[in-house]
C-alpha cells in the first residue's frame, strides 16, 4: 500500500515537472478564475452590508427617536397600520434599539468612527414598511405624513437611497459571476488538456502498464493527483491575490468621508477566510474533475 502511494506521488511529481509550460498556463487560468469567484463573493457581501436594512422589499423606514415614549411608538405603529390598503401590515416590522444596533454594526462595518458614536441607548429604533401599492407617489406622501408624527426622527425611502445601489450591485454581481464561471470552465478545460497531453506523452508506458495488469485506478490516480494539485496551487495563488486586493480596498475605503455609504462596502476578515476556504475547495474540485474526465477518456491510448 505504501509502495503504491509513493508511486502515485512520484509519478505525479515527475509528470508535473515535465509539462511545466502547460501546467503554468493551467494554474494561472484557474488562479484568475478563482480570484474572480472570490471577488464576486466579496462584492456581494460588501453590497449586502449596505442593503441589509432594505432586505425583503422594504420600501420605507421610519426612524423613531431614541428618547420616544412607548405611547409615541404605539401611536406611530397605529398610524402605519391605519393604511392597510397601501401598506402590507403583515410584513410590518419593528426593530427595537438592540436590533437596530446589530444592523448598524454591518452598515458601518468600514466606518468605525460613526459606529463608535452609536450605542444601543442613543440609536433610533425603526419601523420597516413593505408597501402593497406599486405607486411610489403614494408611498412618498405617506412618508410626509409619518414625518410629522411626534417621536419620529426621520423617514427614509428606498427610492432615494437604495435603488441605484441595488441596481449597481446586481449588475456588478452578474458581470463578475458570468466572467468567473466562463473562466472556471476555461480552467477546467486547460487542466483537462494538460492531463490529456501528459497521458498522450506516456501512452507507451500506459499500454505496457495495461498489458502487465495494472488496474485502471492505478494508472489514473497519479494523473488525477496532478490535476488536483494544479487546481489547488491556482487556488492558493488566488487566495493570496484576494487578500492583497481586499487589504488594499479596505485601506482605501477608510479614507472616504464617513457616512457616505462607500465605507460600508467592506467585509469582515472572518468572511474573507471563509471565502478562501471555498476557493480552495472549488480549485481542488475543478482540478480533480478536469483530470478525472481526461484520465477516464484517454486511458485507451
Amino acid at each position: 500500500m505504501i509502495a503504491r502511494i509513493a508511486y502515485a506521488f512520484r509519478e505525479m511529481w515527475a509528470s508535473f515537472r515535465r509539462n511545466l509550460t502547460l501546467t503554468a498556463a493551467a494554474i494561472l487560468t484557474s488562479a484568475i478564475a478563482l480570484l474572480l469567484v472570490g471577488t464576486t463573493l466579496l462584492i456581494q457581501r460588501a453590497f449586502e452590508n449596505l442593503l441589509v436594512q432594505w432586505k425583503g422589499d422594504v420600501a420605507m423606514i421610519v426612524f423613531v427617536r431614541s428618547d420616544a415614549t412607548p405611547e409615541q411608538i404605539a401611536l406611530i405603529d397605529e398610524s402605519i397600520r391605519s393604511a392597510p390598503t397601501i401598506i402590507n401590515v403583515d410584513k410590518l416590522q419593528y426593530l427595537d434599539k438592540t436590533q437596530t444596533y446589530e444592523e448598524a454594526k454591518r452598515i458601518f462595518a468600514g466606518d468605525p468612527v460613526t459606529l463608535s458614536l452609536l450605542t444601543p441607548e442613543n440609536i433610533p429604533s425603526e419601523f420597516k414598511i413593505v408597501p402593497l401599492t406599486q405607486d411610489p407617489a403614494l408611498v412618498r406622501s405617506l412618508s410626509e405624513q409619518y414625518r410629522s408624527l411626534p417621536g419620529v426622527e426621520d423617514v427614509a425611502l428606498a427610492e432615494d437611497e437604495f435603488q441605484v445601489i441595488s441596481t449597481l450591485s446586481r449588475f456588478v454581481r452578474t458581470v463578475t459571476l458570468v466572467m468567473s464561471l466562463v473562466l472556471l470552465v476555461v480552467a477546467v478545460g486547460l487542466i483537462w488538456n494538460t492531463i490529456r497531453t501528459a497521458m498522450f506523452a506516456r501512452r507507451r508506458e500506459i499500454e505496457v502498464m495495461k498489458l502487465v495488469g495494472a488496474t485502471n485506478w492505478f494508472i489514473r490516480v497519479p494523473f488525477m493527483l496532478e490535476g488536483l494539485l494544479q487546481g489547488l496551487i491556482g487556488a492558493i495563488v488566488s487566495c493570496g491575490g484576494l487578500w492583497v486586493l481586499n487589504s488594499a480596498w479596505t485601506n482605501g475605503v477608510a479614507g472616504f468621508k464617513p457616512g457616505t455609504g462607500i465605507s460600508s462596502l467592506v467585509v469582515p476578515s472572518g468572511y474573507l477566510s471563509g471565502v478562501m476556504v471555498v476557493i480552495l475547495i472549488i480549485g481542488a474540485l475543478a482540478g480533480a474533475i478536469g483530470s478525472a474526465i481526461a484520465a477516464s477518456r484517454f486511458l485507451d491510448v
Partner: protein, 225 residues
Amino acid sequence: MIRLENVTKRYGSETVAVRDASFDVAKGDFVFLVGPSGSGKSTILRLVNRQERPERGDVWVAGQNVNDLPDSRVPFLRRNMGNVFQDYKLLTGKTVFENIAFALEVIGKPRHVIARQVPIVLDLVGLAGKEDRFPNQLSGGEQQRVSIARAFVNRPLILLADEPTGNLDPATGEGIMSLLDEINQTGTTVVMATHDHRVVNAMRRRVIQLDRGVIVRDQERGVYE
C-alpha cells in the same frame, strides 16, 4: 489452460479476423499459431488477453470465461499472462532493470520483492550485468530478452508471444526460441504466433495453422509446411 469455443471475431462489418475457431491448450503446452499476415494469429492472442472481445463464442483462460469478466477484473486476468511482441515495447527512458521492475511495480509489488526478483530473471535471460543499460544501447536480440524477462518476472501461467523473432536474424532468433523453450520447461504455457518457418520446423511442437481466420490444421509435433 486456454480454450476457444466457436470463436468468431470481425473488425467492422466486413473483415472477418477469426471464424468459428475452437481449440484447447493444456497447461504446460507449447503451441505455434502459424499462417500468413492477416490470417488471424494476432487476433487470437488479443482475444486471450482480452484486448479484444469475440463477437460469438467463448474464450476460457484458467477456467474463467474471459468474455464474462467485468472490465475491473481484466487487470487481474492479465497478471497471469506475459506478453512478448515483435517490437519489444520497451520504455526507452528506463534502464533494463527499471523496465523489468516496472512490471512488478505497477501491480503493487513491494520494493524488496522487486529487488530480489529482477536479478533472478535477468540472469535467466542471460543479461546479468546489463541492468543499467538503456534499450537503445542493446542489440535487437538483447532487447527481446529484456521484454521476455519483463513478461516472465511475475511467473505467469501463460506467455503470449506475437512474432517474437520477427525482427531478428536467424541465429539471434534461435537464441530467443531456446529461451522460450526454457520458460516452457518451468511449466509456463506458451502460445506463439509466427510465420517464421525455421523456428517452427526446428522445435517440432504443436502447430495450429490459420488461413483467413479459419483453423485449417491442428497438429501435434507439426512443421510449418
